[in-house]
Symmetry: C2
């Protein structure tokens, strides 16, 4: 993260930040290898042999169109667990998985509750927690977030995000509901994510922003640098902690 | 808690419980001496000398009528921090505190963020957390809950309750929003509280119930035993942990 162009994007060293909000899928946890691993664990004993990573990527490719149904108001708020199940249904034909039963589809959907954190995250969040309120502001519903927290030893001050706002990022309501839950001003909150659109909307709503580069999230697709100016550029939660003096 | 009549109220040893929901004010933290202490800290240096405990009790007496405005639908959902401030305004005349400024009223309102847990609670919750998902299902808003958790070392899986449901206990929506957040059935959740009306509504909505006796909450007013049948009768969170095998 040391090249000149990237450093220019870090426009200020934010002061007055009291709470850090975290994107979770991709920024803190590795959905790609986690979903692939669970899919293999569940389906290989049933005789299936597919490209597990391609399966995880195809499932994730359904994510934006899936949540867009809620964001656009075409369906009422539906939690991500339910949408994940519907997204899964859509990719079954392309992997010749049409014969899977409800039980197996339910098991597969729980893969999103069993993801492992990038290796810096437990220690990085523990450091950041010494100085800031910390909360996920994720599109994942509370049950996913609490399971990921247990698994990875995240100690959140609260679980904010989609279930609280009953809408999905990058809609304004999600950021403002999170700011409001802690009774802070937007400028006292920093959104931390590996994705430019998330940070762009947070900034448009008055929040500070930190980019955390996760090139391994989805090789060839992940952003190596943010597309828009951010307050802090980092390559891990530990780097972020250091830059924020935590 | 060992007399015969009380034991008869404990109708079953619940199995299949996966999550414990906790009432907070009175059940886990001591609002009465905490608010009295902060009031004295803030007002004594300004020359006031009142009965600090009576002040805390008078403030709490405004609690049910205050939140009833929301429950009855006369005002839209308003978080408890805001209602606490309005309740405070109402009791100023009776303590000759009419000349207090906004700054002091704001400081006083924060007293509800600075309450100490009953001494069994940190260890009791830590034991219960080994076996169950644990979450506050309180009428206190998220900012109060996260401050109390920091202060008292509560490690919640999520903060559920009024802010999530946008209504107040004992309204059905609050219990069902909590059950739904963990994607459980009502019978897989147990409401734990020192107050019969809270437990009555939880039971009416299909949840299991545990009474935690807190005679010190409000001497002369606190319930020594539940008014309606409960699944577990206990006199502390440690006792509850033992009875639930945690």
């Amino acid at each position: 993260m040391a090249n000149t162009e990237e450093n220019k994007l870090a426009t200020s060293s934010p002061s007055g930040v009291k709470a850090l909000f975290f994107d979770v899928f991709g920024t803190l946890v590795d959905w790609r290898t986690g979903v692939a691993r669970d899919a293999e664990l569940i389906l290989k004993p049933l005789g299936y042999s597919i490209n597990w990573i391609a399966f995880a990527e195809a499932w994730r490719d359904q994510y934006q169109p899936g949540i867009e149904e809620v964001r656009a108001g075409r369906i009422s708020y539906t939690r991500l667990d339910v949408l994940h199940r519907q997204m899964l249904q859509k990719i079954l034909p392309q992997f010749a998985l049409n014969k899977l039963k409800d039980k197996e589809l339910d098991q597969l959907t729980m893969a999103w509750h069993h993801l492992d954190a990038w290796k810096d995250v437990p220690a990085g969040l523990a450091r950041l927690r010494q100085r800031f309120l910390i909360a996920p502001v994720s599109n994942g519903n509370i049950a996913i977030m609490s399971d990921l927290a247990r698994r990875n030893d995240f100690r959140w001050d609260a679980i904010l995000g989609a279930d609280l706002a009953r809408d999905y990022k990058p809609k304004t309501a999600v950021y403002l509901a999170a700011v409001d839950a802690f009774d802070l001003k937007p400028t006292e909150c920093m959104m931390c994510a590996a994705h430019s659109e998330d940070l762009r909307s947070a900034a448009a709503n008055g929040l500070r922003t930190a980019f955390i580069a996760r090139p391994e999230e989805h090789p060839g697709v992940s952003e190596n640098a943010p597309k828009y100016p951010v307050d802090v550029l980092s390559n891990s939660t530990l780097d972020l902690a250091t830059q924020l003096g935590a």
